[in-house]
Symmetry: D2
Subunit: 284 residues, 4 copies
Amino acid sequence: MHTAILIIQCKDSKGIVAAVSQFLYENNGNILAIDQYIDEELGDFFMRAEWELDSFDIPKDHILDVFGRQVGERFEMDYSLFFNFPKPRMALFVSKLSHCLFDILSRYYSGQFDVEIPLVISNHADLEPIVKAFGIPFYHLPINKSNKASQEEKQIQLLRENNIDFIVLARYMQILSADFIKNYPNQIINIHHSFLPAFVGAKPYHAAYKRGVKIIGATAHYVTEELDAGPIIEQEVARVRHHNTVEELVQIGQDVEKVVLSKAIKYHLVQKIKVVGNRTIIFT
Amino acid sequence: MHTAILIIQCKDSKGIVAAVSQFLYENNGNILAIDQYIDEELGDFFMRAEWELDSFDIPKDHILDVFGRQVGERFEMDYSLFFNFPKPRMALFVSKLSHCLFDILSRYYSGQFDVEIPLVISNHADLEPIVKAFGIPFYHLPINKSNKASQEEKQIQLLRENNIDFIVLARYMQILSADFIKNYPNQIINIHHSFLPAFVGAKPYHAAYKRGVKIIGATAHYVTEELDAGPIIEQEVARVRHHNTVEELVQIGQDVEKVVLSKAIKYHLVQKIKVVGNRTIIFT
Amino acid sequence: MHTAILIIQCKDSKGIVAAVSQFLYENNGNILAIDQYIDEELGDFFMRAEWELDSFDIPKDHILDVFGRQVGERFEMDYSLFFNFPKPRMALFVSKLSHCLFDILSRYYSGQFDVEIPLVISNHADLEPIVKAFGIPFYHLPINKSNKASQEEKQIQLLRENNIDFIVLARYMQILSADFIKNYPNQIINIHHSFLPAFVGAKPYHAAYKRGVKIIGATAHYVTEELDAGPIIEQEVARVRHHNTVEELVQIGQDVEKVVLSKAIKYHLVQKIKVVGNRTIIFT
Amino acid sequence: MHTAILIIQCKDSKGIVAAVSQFLYENNGNILAIDQYIDEELGDFFMRAEWELDSFDIPKDHILDVFGRQVGERFEMDYSLFFNFPKPRMALFVSKLSHCLFDILSRYYSGQFDVEIPLVISNHADLEPIVKAFGIPFYHLPINKSNKASQEEKQIQLLRENNIDFIVLARYMQILSADFIKNYPNQIINIHHSFLPAFVGAKPYHAAYKRGVKIIGATAHYVTEELDAGPIIEQEVARVRHHNTVEELVQIGQDVEKVVLSKAIKYHLVQKIKVVGNRTIIFT
């Protein structure tokens, strides 16, 4: 089923829900899902509405204009319109670890992710056979201190040539430059292997072991310039005990990482995420 | 703040959200929360809306009528109206175990539960001192095979005299008769000490031990005639290991029971539950 | 590192730990892990000890005899000896669903499972390409009402030819016959897609939806003649809400299933499971 | 049943388990629980053994000496001996929040905590009625910038007069001085209302809200001079969503806090905790 998805942000006031739902009703929109949220601290209203496109009276390409004139301008809304087709185009960045890659490809294979994966980029060649077994082009772009800028240029070029919509860092062990990140604002999802904001940076499982925590976690977040500080999309945890070695924390953690990352990708794919400052709204 | 809460069920069709939100907007209702749910299997639409009452144009006592004429009848809605005042009146039924009772009274004491507790009824006298320490009347109504019907009559009389809105069975170890239950449809909350539908009936921790489960749980549900089969409100679980004895399961489980029961009471208090057949919608 | 693993069951009495640990010490055994459990209901003592084999004074093939004479007979023990080499040989049985298969193969690929997978058997051909991409032979043995016995014979033959130690039913949608099961007592691991003993049998997610549970789960267990009633190895759960459709329960549940099944396989691989009646001890 | 509990730390080497278990066996000790742990990083061996005291051949007051001569010295052990009687004496420090206090008193009342509570100390008078209802003396010692040292002296005096073994800070909103803490090394348990090491210090729920985390937590730890940095005993978490206000985080968090704190108290009461550097071993 073809659907349209509207995501709205504006100052909270009376009549917003009425105006939006009236707009959809008058134009013969069959609402499939609708969710609102009022941020009392900001005084802002947020809404996500999804409806069937086929029977809608306004042609796809005019919806944004008409909505803006009839509703958006009146409430001084910030609004965005998405469609659930064509499939979003996702690039995967990996290094050597395979658990997140396998989990993503497994969901891609079974149809759980309605997405195109035009390419995988890696700074190591290790995972090439896996990627190729799925019929996906694999680009090996090794990175060292001297070639980072030029390699990122090649990455950007590949992403553009492939019309990539968003990027998933599936345990990609390189830090992207601020310049790179600017090209994909809130379109780069990273999995950090700790329960952020605990254990920012490298070797979080070692740090967790040293601190003696009883629970470890993983955090999927959008990448911003500040390391591991971007808006959190999803988190999950697992219980550990004193006898678990760092290596065991790594293994226990990998099960958490892959599930958290895949949940975040799913939310992103179906346009359920709205970034507000450094927080995310995850619509129902 | 005084609020009104509307809960709606009707066949799903276009225009419902528009009609309800327009009704609230036109009458100057400041929406505080709104949540919808479409049950695709039933083809039914459900909605809960809460708004400020003080500034609302329609007087409290006329809202139901006006809404019915302007909106409810048009969509052949089943609709109910609630107010967050006066405080609901809750009766507690207990036996000998104190953990749920303490948890409820603790929240009552701290103001987390906006409720009146006019009385506690028990078939044992053990918990009387606790209840009295909170200044709550305690009625000791022992139950045996021969006096059950007459004692239930006394219970009903006490509940009526105290204008009780709903009843919480806080590990009350008696089965209520069908006649009793009929007086309080979807207004009796029980905590069952297992993860229903596993281990219905007596001694679920013994049954869980015997079956060798690795996780135990607790279930808060509305009481219906069929034992432990009513609509589930909330569930939670805890991990156990092979070395945990039945007595340890009981202790681990009690921590789950009290939290689950108190969550269910909270949902009920703020009118976030809609029973549909044998399932519950828990609105956001 | 080559290790030996001893698993013991006997009537509890004084001196067992002393006797076993003295035996290991006198023969120069470097203990790597030791765990005990006293089942108070049975009055039985259980122990798992793992030690380095290379420096041990008793040759590998004589350990069982010497231990029996020096310790086992004295306490009338039931004892078993295992080695962590050569790698156990695991057969996978699958049908059409790929999520558990991918999860297992992913761990096999990354070395998290120290196991051989000589073959995969399926009653459908769908997953053949995945299996072959990992270089593992795939046998398509379709099953219908009339050919079940003969196909099971072929399965048994394949398992024997490949010296299979244990079998994992990775969402294999067929019920094995009692005759088949007898060949592999406590050596067939199944993943059931519910929180057993709730929702035994077919379509548990449908049953969970209908019952309106707030939490769903998955259970890995050894297969016995009685359906879904064998000793539970591991369980895990996930929270669901009223708005989740059966299809969503299936997707949420698959994430639980694959992690639970893989944990159970890991416990089995490292000989951490002792079946006692219909319960399992999972040693630390 | 009267029991003795031995907790051991020494360099790992062959023969330790044999020596300790032989010592218990020869002196007619009926082992109730035994648990070991080898810290591979430190190269240290840890053990906790609990056995029946009544039938033990060595008189209570000589056990430590005899064990030291026969076993402890040989392995250069650090060892401690405890008995499960008389009941440990616990002081509670509180401020205004009642949820942890109620939870502890509830377990004390029901016999789940085998402990004496000779007094409660608070810097506010609010909780006095609750404490008195349980028949426990309540000392109101208000603290301000100028009187902190003198009030702590009074606290210490009260603790000594009452032969207090350990202190529980049940949401006590004051920071204890280094001098105070030195008197009770690893004998002061605090509950911090975040998932440490995330959100150290004041107002962690505000910080969690601001960071937009999807999971909040609580941490029970031993108090050391560095704020919120002592050895972690237990942690637990709860899921939150974007629409949860700070006030809701506080309420959700309180349910986690009270359960985590009570678990930590239980571990401490039954001598299951061994502090190693800044980590804790929690024996089975």
